[in-house]
């Protein structure tokens, strides 16, 4: 094998690595929905919900429960990532990164704010005031917003074929919820706050995509995703949960139960594992195949979740999932069989200077 040929082989391997990470991202994210939805039906989360519902209504209870679930999830994911980074020897790099507040750490904190409170509150506001299908569709549309933002503001380039692939995958995943969405719209019960929530969710995750794209340019993925999860844990546990407690919501009473109830601890740990490793794949795929393709692949989590939830809980999706499956397949083919040279750089062809 000559050098030119080896260079091409290495390049193909690199692109394949990026795509494998993207697919694992979707698998783990989809798998996360199993503990993710279990948390809503077990204690202490159910007791918290019922308790808050009496004084603040169902939507208030849902938002407060979402805070505790997200907080527990972020905390466990951060703990799980300690195992990963101990193995990867990345603690020193984390220390070097966290002190560079203006050059890189600000992006990771911003990612935690956008993907944490903004998107989480947004998606539950959308569920509460508009409907679950509307909320899911809003969440799945984020790759479109994210792709537009990263091409406009982070200088990333995509071929027409890659864009077509991303759009087809997103449309495919959205079609899972088509019937539910039509029902919700025709019921006429959607409220303004629901749309605001939908926008918060779609822009929350889209903006996270943009700041990660900026952050990943100058930081190591392993250090970066751990610091992002650490920042998110800080936001939930140092800011939001204490604020709720000060506002008189009895959230702290239930915090201890997460760690003393073996069933709750097991579910939260599984959620932390799935979410932690999903984050690893997300941040590893970014620098290799770019923001747009990674986000497009991540939308597949909806398809994976449908399959897992069907296998484990027996919940049958609408028949439109079949149309979704076909569209997703076409989208993946479009994306994978793009000319590999396009991925030499995620910012188009570059030239050496000097």
């Amino acid at each position: 094998m000559d050098a030119e040929e080896m260079k091409r082989t290495n390049h193909r391997k690199k692109v394949k690595y990026g795509y494998v990470m993207g697919v694992f991202l979707a698998l783990l994210w989809g798998l996360w929905y199993v503990p993710g939805s279990l948390m809503w039906v077990i204690d202490p989360f159910v007791s918290l919900y019922n308790d808050v519902a009496v004084t603040h209504g169902d939507i208030g209870a849902m938002l407060v429960t979402a805070v505790l679930i997200s907080g527990a999830n972020a905390l466990m994911a951060t703990v799980v990532l300690v195992i990963w980074n101990a193995y990867m020897h990345k603690f020193k790099e984390m220390k070097r990164t966290i002190v560079e507040l203006k050059a890189v750490q600000k992006y990771l904190i911003a990612a935690a704010v956008f993907a944490g409170p903004m998107a989480v509150f947004g998606s539950y506001l959308a569920t509460g005031f508009a409907g679950a299908a509307f909320s899911a569709v809003a969440a799945l549309a984020f790759p479109v917003v994210g792709t537009i933002l990263t091409t406009k503001f982070a200088g990333q380039r995509l071929s027409k074929r890659a864009i077509a692939g991303i759009l087809t995958i997103v449309m495919g995943c959205i079609s899972i919820y088509a019937i539910g969405l039509v029902d919700e719209i025709s019921s006429g019960r959607m409220e303004m706050m629901g749309y605001v929530g939908g926008l918060m969710a779609v822009f929350g995750w889209g903006l996270e995509g943009l700041v990660i794209a900026k952050g990943m340019d100058v930081s190591e993925p392993d250090a970066a995703f751990h610091l992002k999860m650490l920042s998110e844990t800080g936001i939930w546990w140092i800011i939001i949960i204490p604020i709720l407690a000060l506002a008189g919501i009895p959230i702290l009473e239930y915090v201890v139960n997460i760690f003393t109830d073996p069933a709750a601890l097991l579910v939260v740990t599984c959620s932390g594992f799935a979410f932690g490793y999903c984050t690893i794949c997300y941040y590893k795929a970014y620098p290799m195949i770019g923001a747009g393709r990674t986000m497009g692949l991540s939308a597949l989590n909806a398809m994976v979740a449908v399959v897992f939830l069907f296998a484990l809980t027996g919940s049958v999706p609408d028949w439109t999932v079949l149309i979704g499956g076909v569209l997703v397949f076409i989208g993946l083919i479009l994306m994978f069989y793009e000319k590999k040279e396009n991925l030499e750089s995620i910012r188009g062809e570059q030239e050496a200077i000097e």
Binding site: K14, E100, V104, E220, P287, R347, Q350, A352, I353, E354
Partner: protein
Amino acid sequence: MMEGRPIKFRLLEMFNEGGKWNYEVIPQVQEEYQMNTKFEADCINFDIIEICTAGFLVKTETKIDEEGIYRQGSLLIKYQITQLGRDQFETIARNLSKRRVKT
């Protein structure tokens, strides 16, 4: 200026000084950051690949390591910085945190 700061900062600085081969950069970073294992050398190589994919570097020359300069049979790559890379380097250089002076 970038010694001891995040690895990608240092790598951008080294390539900003001029085109370099990966086998020149990797041992230098290994020494500066005390990353002595083969695994850590691979991590540094991977960081170089990432900043190249970001559009900050381009590959200008390649050859197969026949004499075992870095690792026998591996592909040696020479990288050169791009305008985007230089702009990125200047941006981080302007935004560095202040270091505590060691006494």
